[in-house]
Amino acid sequence: MNLTLKIWRQKNASDKGKMVDYSVSDISPDMSFLEMLDVLNEQLIEQGEQPVAFDHDCREGICGMCSLYINGEAHGPDRGVTTCQLHMRMFKDGDTITIEPFRATAFPVIKDLVVDRSAFDRVQHAGGFISVNTSGNTIDANAIPVNKHDADDAFAAATCIGCGACVASCKNSSAMLFVGAKVSQFALLPQGQVEATDRVLNMVKQMDEEGFGNCTNTGACEVECPKGISLENIARMNREYLKAAFKG
């Protein structure tokens, strides 16, 4: 297939940046979206131009590094996939594809399509963990009985890969789905109870300080999330937060 690409180019964090048009030809419909960009970059290097910078690592949908806002949607038009899992067969020969970085004040652009998502790391550091003594007398996690339903929900929440598609898709750049998943993962398990109050208060505080927006419950995040993280996680975080806040 032959395609026209409109790509955001920005030299560095302080550059203003602009959309630039490129064309690529002979793209196989079986290629992944990132492979298509590899083809473009080979072409640019041959022409002596700067290749387009974009994030990627595992290229199999587990690391959450690949980002990209493709034709107005995070990770493009397919559902339940990351950009590395998006196939070119989702597009037609002759299509024009708009490719932008994830946009949010909390995710500043570093270069071209690469954004700084370390705000997520700082939210995670604020409470997304349990403190377990690993000195040798650690109790086996399986020794504590957990309701199957809760275990399943906790596991589903834990599948969040921290990609940031929820923030990118949200009209308010809210990080509630991500933080909701991280809070839920522990709130559902006995091991998470001891630090539950501090966890939710600190993580929400950090989330607000990073400059993410407020949730309007549009549900865009849930639709665009490659891991199908449910809005129920936001409701659970809201409950956990209100419980913790009224406790004082």
Partner: protein, 224 residues
Amino acid sequence: MSGILNSSIGRKFAMALSAFFLMIFLLQHFAINILSVFSADAFNEASHFMGTFWAVQYLLQPVLIFGVIFHFVMGFVLEIKNNKARQISYAKNNGAANSSWMSRNMIWSGLAILAFIVLHFIDFWIPEINTKYIVGDMSGMHNGEFRYFHELVEKFHSPLRVGAYVVAFVFLALHLLHGFNSAFQSVGANNKYTKGLKTFSKIYAIGIPAGFIFIALFHHLTGH
């Protein structure tokens, strides 16, 4: 508990509480207005009671005014904060792919409702307050009979006013089609009852505004 309004979740919780309060108020307002379709006397009695009973006037009315103001001021605050959270917008954004128009435009449906509330205040509330507390006439009478029903019918003569009324209630329906269910999610109620709550929200969001429109059209078309 301290500074709950300084947190994103706290603000959403307060927003939802004020919205729930408005939903209850709207239901009560509808219950009285619909009487005007069936019986002028019943409508007069109810209006007189609401207009003169001290607990309504001095307790509920101030709470209501506070609730409305809190709701739209918080709506503006959230809107401004949310716009700040993305300073550079997308060249191409396909919002329709993942969310409803209503959910993405709460501020616009809200502003339309606000415009209506201003009109409504000028139309009904200010004359009411003037008659009762400035002129000092608490009788609710005019030419020997209750004035409320006549005043209502008279307002609905003008096709312009009825038109504005209909448009405003369409916007209210759009606001509530997303908002009512959203408020349940905000207070953390997303569980096995979600499906039922969604249906209930939808019935309310369409039914109540449609009912208000029906009342306006009824008086406009029948002339009484």
